[in-house]
């Protein structure tokens, strides 16, 4: 008891908070999830379709790129657009039969499709390496990374974290995508999507082919999911099935809710806060085992989300009026 008083059980190791390597990693994760969740925002926040299979698009992006480079010996740069096309094709295969269903059935269909992809990756060992995964696709990226490191060194910063170029590129891409998505949302095309979110039948009665728009929305989410998959693969340097568990999509939803519905900028804020809290809690020193602390992080995240729902249901960037209005 006396020991507890002199050595408080809860403490934070402060040197970690200034550890640039650590925050670079957190920043990369936040950037990857920003891109990932932009797709969810388009689907859920702007089209009203509940895509619970975003992890599948991420998986397809990562695996296609990895396999095309290592097995088909394709150029890394060429593998990227092809991987996006594969993800879009998968999105259309899932969407064509299921987007005509009610939103809740669509949600079930997408989560099932995502799990099918993950289990396929786990078992098609010839193609994917099974549980061991695929690696050895990062050479082209590594040379880019070194070039960027050289530029940074030229400015005068020499002890650059190895992952810092990836951090820069992830966020550059994320910012461009946020900007593009926000701009596109303000066009007549974006207006039709919002109308479908509000009332699909009203949109159809006004001559809008709601189904085609929902497919487009899903195809763009697939593109964004695939891009996030590229960065995930480059960050890990390998691709394994367990990186694409359904929880990945759920974390995306947590970012979405934190940042607020119908805001692309909110997605970035949500992702940064979520990953800062989740990873920052690693430094919480408690008299508990590692695994318990790991579980506790998610517990705390859950409490944060519950608190947010209670006190600020619209999230950080969402509009309160849009939460309370409905037919």
């Amino acid at each position: 008891m006396l020991e507890l008083l002199t050595n408080p059980p809860i403490a934070l190791t402060f040197q970690s908070f200034t550890d640039i390597d650590f925050w670079t990693s957190v920043g990369i994760l936040a950037g990857i999830y920003t891109i990932f969740t932009l797709g969810l925002q388009l689907n859920v926040g702007f089209t009203g379709i509940f895509n619970f299979g975003q992890a599948a698009f991420m998986a397809i992006g990562a695996y296609s790129m990895a396999i095309l480079v290592t097995e088909a010996h394709m150029s890394f740069w060429l593998s990227l657009p092809i991987s996006i096309l594969i993800a879009i094709a998968f999105g259309l295969i899932v969407g064509l039969p299921s987007l005509r269903l009610r939103t809740d059935y669509f949600a079930i269909a997408t989560i099932a499709a995502a799990e099918a992809i993950r289990l396929f990756a786990l078992n098609a060992r010839e193609l994917t390496g099974g549980a061991q995964g695929t690696f050895g696709f990062g050479d082209d990226w590594d040379s880019v990374s070194e070039t960027i490191e050289g530029w940074i060194a030229d400015i005068g910063w020499t002890d650059v974290p190895t992952l810092f170029p990836l951090f820069l590129v992830v966020w550059a891409v994320a910012l461009v995508l946020m900007l593009v998505m926000s701009r596109v949302q303000e066009t007549p095309w974006g207006r039709v999507l919002r109308a479908i979110r509000e009332d699909e039948d009203a949109a159809r009665a006004l001559g809008k082919n709601a189904f085609a728009y929902k497919l487009q929305s899903l195809a763009i989410a697939a593109t964004l999911g695939a891009i996030s998959g590229f960065f995930l693969a480059l960050n890990l340097k390998f691709v394994v099935p367990e990186e694409f568990l359904p929880i990945v999509t759920f974390i995306g939803y947590a970012c979405l809710i934190l940042g607020g519905m119908a805001s692309y900028w909110g997605v970035a804020v949500g992702a940064v806060i979520l990953w800062s809290v989740l990873e920052g809690l690693r430094f919480l020193e408690l008299p508990l085992s590692e695994t318990r602390i790991a579980a506790l992080r998610f517990l705390i995240l859950g409490l944060v989300l519950i608190g947010l729902m209670a006190f600020r249901p619209q999230g950080i960037f969402g509009k309160r009026e849009e939460m309370v209005l409905g037919d």
Partner: protein
């Protein structure tokens, strides 16, 4: 027009302008119930036609079937000589046959002006490729559409609410918005499901005046479901009466109100019978 419950519907006399819409033996079943049991009707071009009938007669179901929202189980329907049954709602709407809903479908979390502008046809910016490659074209169209939308909002007294979320509007205002939004599509044939319900009499008159003007100036045809017999008798050129999924009478208001089949169908609700006295 005489007594006798189950005779064929009164055949409407030839119309001056011809027929714009024709339904022939339209059937819709829900399980064992025949909500539409071979409905035949035609609507003359440039008319304001009322569709009346007791609750459950199949009026709204008829709208849902002929505008593509429900799949029909038989019969045919043609708008301007083109078959519409079996086509999706958006395709039928694009032909110029546009409907509104009994329970309004205001796009709640969108401003009134966006609700309106959504209705406009021929907006190239609704296609993703044009958004990217033809920004000038859709921006130009957007400006035109905004102007038309503001003109219509003025007519329906909604101008001050242009930037309000549609979800903040009252029930009556939503009805007006829905009609105004339908007009944005530049329809040739409008199917209105109880357009007057929940609207105060002043606005209701404004709405009727506007219908008359559209019919006169732009040759728009109207088919509207209505329960208010005063409105039907005073403002419709023709009245079509449905009961139990069929059309039981079709004629000018003064003919229909004396039709024994109509009086029988309404027994219990008593509305037309009351009009008679």
């Amino acid at each position: 027009m005489t007594e006798g419950g189950t005779r064929a519907p009164a055949v409407a006399p030839a119309r001056r302008n011809g027929t714009i819409f024709e339904a022939d033996g339209v059937v819709k079943r829900f399980g064992g119930i025949r909500a539409l049991d071979g409905a035949n009707l035609s609507v003359g071009k440039g008319t304001i036609t009322a569709l009346i009938g007791p609750n459950g007669a199949g009026k709204t179901t008829f709208f849902n079937v002929v505008t593509g929202f429900y799949r029909s189980d038989g019969g045919r329907a043609a708008f301007g000589g083109r078959d519409v049954l079996g086509h999706p709602p958006y395709a039928i709407a694009r032909l110029g046959m546009v409907r509104t809903f009994q329970i309004t479908k205001a796009l709640a979390r969108m401003p009134v002006i966006d609700n309106m502008m959504l209705g406009a046809p021929d907006q190239p910016g609704e296609r993703l490729l044009n958004v990217v490659f033809r920004p000038a074209a859709w921006r130009r169209r957007e400006a035109e559409v905004r102007e038309q939308a503001m003109e219509l909002l003025e007519i329906f007294n909604l101008t001050p609410l242009a930037d309000a979320y549609a979800g903040t509007l009252s029930g009556g205002q939503r009805k007006l918005l829905e009609l105004a939004r339908a007009l944005m599509t530049r329809p040739r044939f409008l199917l209105l499901d109880e357009p007057m319900a929940g609207i105060n009499p002043t606005l209701g008159r404004r709405l009727l005046d506007h219908m008359q003007r559209l019919r006169r100036e732009e040759d728009v045809t109207f088919l509207f479901i209505e329960h208010d017999m005063e409105v039907v008798m005073n403002h419709a050129d023709r009245v079509i009466v449905m009961a139990q999924g069929r059309v039981i009478a079709d004629g000018e208001p003064h003919e229909v109100r004396r039709d024994q089949a109509v009086i029988d169908a309404y027994l219990g609700s008593g509305t037309v019978a009351a009009e008679e006295q």
